[in-house]
Symmetry: C2
Subunit: 174 residues, 2 copies
């Protein structure tokens, strides 16, 4: 389990890897957020939600599915979606089969906004993250990061709803 020396200080590559992991994340997310807000009045979180919806069947997803994908709390998602509903990008819909679930559905306006913002966002990701690596390195990185907790699969929708994840995902609307 490699936890035998758990009380020894972190050293060398281990420390660098960990620090790099933490600090780069903070810096990149902050800048992506600033970019998206400046150009589209949209948060990275907002964008993420719109994106997930755009990839789902009928462009809708139960709240809890959004919660899992975004790593937010259910209550966090409720409030985030509230905001997007106020802006007209999302509308709520009820589920016929299970009256507990409430779908968040992407509106046409939301889809349009997502397309616009997507250009900015993908450009940002490439500039701040992808452009620093070669294709081979990206594969290495993907493989390494996939072993970490939370990164596995992304989590399916546990509700019996029709929210089967599409086979090929993308990070901007195509």
């Amino acid at each position: 389990m490699a936890v035998t020396q758990s009380s020894s200080p972190l050293r060398g590559a281990a420390l660098e890897a960990w620090r790099g992991y933490l600090q780069s994340h903070a810096g990149i997310v902050r800048e992506l957020d600033a970019d998206l807000i400046a150009h589209h009045e949209l948060t990275v979180r907002d964008y993420e939600v719109l994106l997930y919806l755009s990839q789902a069947d009928d462009r809708q997803l139960p709240m809890s599915a959004l919660s899992e994908r975004t790593m937010l709390t259910r209550s966090g998602i409720t409030r985030l979606v509230d905001g997007l509903v106020d802006q007209g990008m999302i509308e709520r819909a009820s589920c016929e089969r299970d009256a507990r679930v409430s779908y968040a559905r992407l509106t046409d306006a939301g889809y349009g906004k997502l397309r616009d913002a997507g250009r900015t966002h993908v450009a940002g990701i490439e500039r701040l993250f992808l452009s620093h690596f070669t294709a081979v390195e990206l594969e290495q990185l993907a493989e390494l990061l996939s072993r970490l907790p939370g990164a596995t699969g992304g989590g399916q929708c546990t509700a019996g709803g029709p929210a089967a994840p599409p086979a090929t995902e993308s990070c901007s609307v195509e």
Copy 2:
């Protein structure tokens, strides 16, 4: 520059790498935080601040130096430090040479708390992050992540204060 195709959707390894990066970070930090709070009533941020102070000369650092290292705003650091002062882990000190700067100095109580919490925290980092990689892989990872913005060097103290970073850093008090 590799930004020529900036409007194309992210695919394959690029997408996996990026998703893994985001999701693993959220999951790991959340769990580390829960661990530390449960066992020591301390946030990861709190821990980070105490750690940086413990590594500095005289166990003190100007607020802005803390701000750079933690990737927090100056105002964020003010409030975080306020909390740690209330808990008696940090005390404020003024600078003789520059009346604008205010040092945060680690108290003995804070140092003790840091030592205790360090065991939990390092164990958590090893369990959630390090244990998934070999030594060679950690070197690769460190090298790859070091290219990302925000991960470079960690930033020195811009104030003329005596806060020269130590040559060998560690991630827990030794």
